[in-house]
């Protein structure tokens, strides 16, 4: 049975990204291995430590920076994470100083909001209703 084990977000600063994704969003660091001038740096959900790893991928490939910038400017999320209670998570993150380009909004079966991850991406958080 094939599975998703790693997915990634491109980040313009791995150290800053690790701080944001762990201290602010609440993921846990799983792997941190030096690779050349960068790191193979992954985080996981605290609830699913054997689950899918999120690679905080260094932006070493020039054309990817153009793509990331275009998504950012259009407010398009690079990826989406699930939360149990979006409204309370939104309030917690705002309290921590996180900036949202889209506050919680209902859209059919979900509520979604879009935040700035401080390392180049819009990230969507969502809750199924």
């Amino acid at each position: 049975m094939i599975k998703i084990n790693v997915t990634s977000v491109p980040v313009n600063d791995q150290t800053k990204a690790l701080d944001f994704y762990t201290r602010v969003l609440g993921f846990m660091k799983k792997t941190d291995v030096p690779v050349g001038e960068h790191r193979w740096l992954t985080v996981v959900s605290q609830e699913e430590q054997s689950g899918v790893e999120l690679l905080l991928e260094p932006m070493a490939f020039e054309p990817a920076q153009v793509y990331q910038q275009a998504l950012k400017e259009a407010g398009i999320p690079y990826t989406s994470f699930a939360v149990d209670d979006l409204q309370s998570e939104y309030e917690r993150l705002v309290e921590l100083g996180v900036e949202f380009s889209m506050p919680p909004k209902e859209a059919g079966p979900v509520i979604i909001a879009v935040l700035d991850d401080t390392v180049g991406n819009n990230i969507q958080i969502m809750q199924y209703l």
Binding site: A74, E99, L129
Partner: protein, 132 residues
């Protein structure tokens, strides 16, 4: 960001063009909430459809359009996720089987294996060995 982003504008447009009315969304959500509360009981598709004020066929299609999977598969996955959590807590497999709404242990084991790749016993053992 002071102005509405391209993304937000698109979300608004797409949502407004969806064929379902807001009250239909609310009814299907309510049926999903029923499954989340009563997954340990016997739940029939007809009851869920009735709770959403829809025919069985229309309900199944609408649920799938909203959540990307049929109500039957949603309930199965929910039960197996709950079962995994209970097994990890050290509850016996027979008890877990009953707690998540399966009347037959062989059926529960087969479904569990299909969803996770392991039988409940294998899952229980692998979790125990991880703890040791």
């Amino acid at each position: 960001m002071p102005n509405t982003s391209f993304y937000e504008t698109e979300i608004d447009r797409l949502y407004s063009e969806m064929p379902m009315r807001p009250e239909q969304y609310a009814r299907v959500r309510q049926s999903k909430a029923l499954m989340e509360e009563y997954y340990g009981d016997k739940i029939e598709l007809d009851d869920l459809a009735q709770s959403a004020f829809m025919s069985r066929f229309h309900y199944g299609r609408t649920f799938q359009r909203m959540y990307g999977l049929t109500p039957r598969i949603f309930l199965r996955d929910l039960r197996i996720a709950k079962a995994k959590a209970l097994i990890r807590q050290g509850i016996s497999i027979t008890q877990v089987c009953a707690d998540v709404g399966y009347e037959s242990l062989p059926t529960f084991s087969a479904v569990f294996k299909k969803c996770t790749g392991q039988t409940p016993k294998q899952y229980q053992l692998s979790h125990k060995s991880n703890l040791e």
